[in-house]
């Protein structure tokens, strides 16, 4: 899997490279409009993370160029500007997704996985981890072939974990993904713990080969042995 990161901020770029390499992606970077333009022209990428404001030009121009070549559908825009206009223009130009800085790594992972999955699995939208099979279209979970009933929130949580297997998911990242922006100032995320507890019990009962581990009170990690 080849991913191109187009981002002028050195620190963020390196952080993203570090994170993506953990998931064994091939990562290339471009720090300005010119080098991004060249790389996009020369190579094919499975996913492109594209900053809008770049030295030497706008990321939206790059997107336009990609669209002309029919390659814009695997672009995730990452922008510091939470502007609805940029978002609409970006999505109109065929970008797959729009992520506002600052974002959680787990969120980025999930979005990248979504792009890659759509590209590869020819409409078959399932996640396959250990003896688990999560059908995203039917919203069903199968463990070792058996159906396991999950409520809506449990399903979303498990989905997020499977997209970020073996990676840390902070509670706030999980809350933002499952409950939206609304919970941002929750004085504690204890209520998340109850959902996790129920989910763990269901996984244990069905003898799932994965487990959800707490990480220093700050988040969770799905472990696949």
């Amino acid at each position: 899997m080849k991913i191109l990161i187009v981002e002028d901020g050195k620190e963020l770029r390196e952080t993203l490279v570090n994170s993506l390499e953990k998931d064994h992606y091939l990562v290339e970077t471009a720090e300005d409009f010119k080098s991004a333009f060249e790389k996009i022209g020369l190579y094919d990428y499975d996913c492109i993370l594209l900053d809008i404001m770049l030295p030497g030009g706008s990321g939206l121009e790059l997107l336009q160029d990609l669209k002309k070549n029919g390659k814009s559908e695997n672009v995730i825009i990452i922008s510091a500007k939470n502007s609805l206009d940029d978002k609409l223009v970006g999505l109109e130009l065929g970008a797959d997704d729009y992520l506002t800085k600052p974002f959680h790594i787990a969120e980025l992972n999930a979005r990248i996985k979504a792009v890659l999955r759509r590209k590869q699995q020819d409409g078959k939208d399932t996640l396959d981890v250990g003896n688990l099979l999560l059908d995203l279209n039917e919203r069903m979970l199968y463990i070792a072939g058996e159906t396991v009933r999950l409520n809506r929130k449990e399903f979303d949580i498990l989905n997020y974990f499977l997209l970020n297997k073996n990676r840390l998911i902070t509670k706030s990242a999980l809350a933002e993904y499952v409950w939206g922006d609304h919970i941002d100032q929750a004085d504690n995320f204890d209520f998340i713990y109850y959902q996790i507890k129920n989910l763990r019990k269901k996984l244990l009962d069905a003898q799932a080969s994965i487990q959800i581990e707490s990480v220093y009170g700050v988040g969770y990690k799905l472990l696949e042995p």
Binding site: L12, P102, H104, A106, T170, H182, D184, Q195, Y216, G217
Partner: protein, 428 residues
Amino acid sequence: MKLLNRSLLYLSISFFFIIGIWSVIFYINLKDEIRDSIDDGLENNKLLLIQKVATDSTLLLQREFGGNNFEIHPIDRITALQVRDVYKDTLMYRQNEDDMEPVRILHSAFANDGKYYRIKIISSLVEEDDLLEDAFWSVVWLFFILVASIILINNLILRRVWNPFHELVARLRKFRLEKDTTAISVKTTTPEFLELQQAANALIRHSQEAFLSQKQFTENASHELQTPLAVISNKLELLLESETLNSKDAQTVAEVIQMAERMVQLNKSLLLLAKIENKQFDEPTSIGINSLLEETLTHFEDYIKYRNIEISKKFQNSITVFIDPSLARILVSNLIKNAVFHNIENGHIQLFLEGSKMTVCNAGSNKALNPEIVFQRFQKDANNNQSTGLGLAVCKAVCEFYDIPISYYYNEGEHCFVIDFTKIAKVL
């Protein structure tokens, strides 16, 4: 004390002294003038008498004033030569007044046929106490008439002169930095008021610049902070995944992550606040408050269930408001969020829609918040350090944007927030 009254007081005091001093001088001068003219008359009388005596010697026998105004006594030569004309004030009995009255008297001497005589001629004098009394009352009347005229002039004429000033004050009082952009202009040609107007406009301009740069600063600062904050959070998240980290360090990293997340949250709220204040949301459409409330509640249902908070809704009617959809969502969401997160275990939330008013009441601490500062930035519950203290400030900013009132009251353990949508509402 009003300027009008103050100037009146000062003028009155000045008049009092000016008229007082003036009237004393005038009185003395008047008296002198009267004496002078009487003295002239007496001298003339004397000359006429001396001429008359030469032809009519019976006059020399006039020893008492009687009905006449003179008396003549023979004296020896030596005494006569020593006599100088002397004018004096004296008192004489007046039969008609039955009282001693002031008279002017001339003591003189003359020679006739080689004999010497002393002559006294009198003339009745103005009654000084009467004159004084009359003059005093005239002056008092003058004083009061003057003061009365000033009051009259002030009220009828000068008041109009002050009109531009009052208009200027009224305009300044109504001036709102965040709304008014044009300078104040009042119709006047008076240089003092023009100067005041210029000074006021200069002040407004400075304030507007400061206000604008403050707003821009908040927005720019929050904006610039986003990337470094993102890097901090992301790097920390990666660090926590590191295999080489020992558990104690990992614990520290986890705590720093939590702090960083709070900063991200705070920054987001500040940016939102700045955007609202900078009018970056302004595409109003019709929004139904009832359904918006219901929808917002579903976002918090897990937390509500977890804290076992009871929700009761009393919607007497539907309210539809003409508002930017993002702002409507932000407003309602922040209010509900506030009610949910500052609630107590097994608490309750009551939602009321009545007329064009929306009221959100929640159980909470047993202490009323200060309604003066509850909507200010960074006013937060000391027990809740995860709160940004910006939620209600955001609500206030939205309400101010649409000029709709938001208020807070406390009633027996219930904290209530009321928004009156009248100005932008269509009640159905």
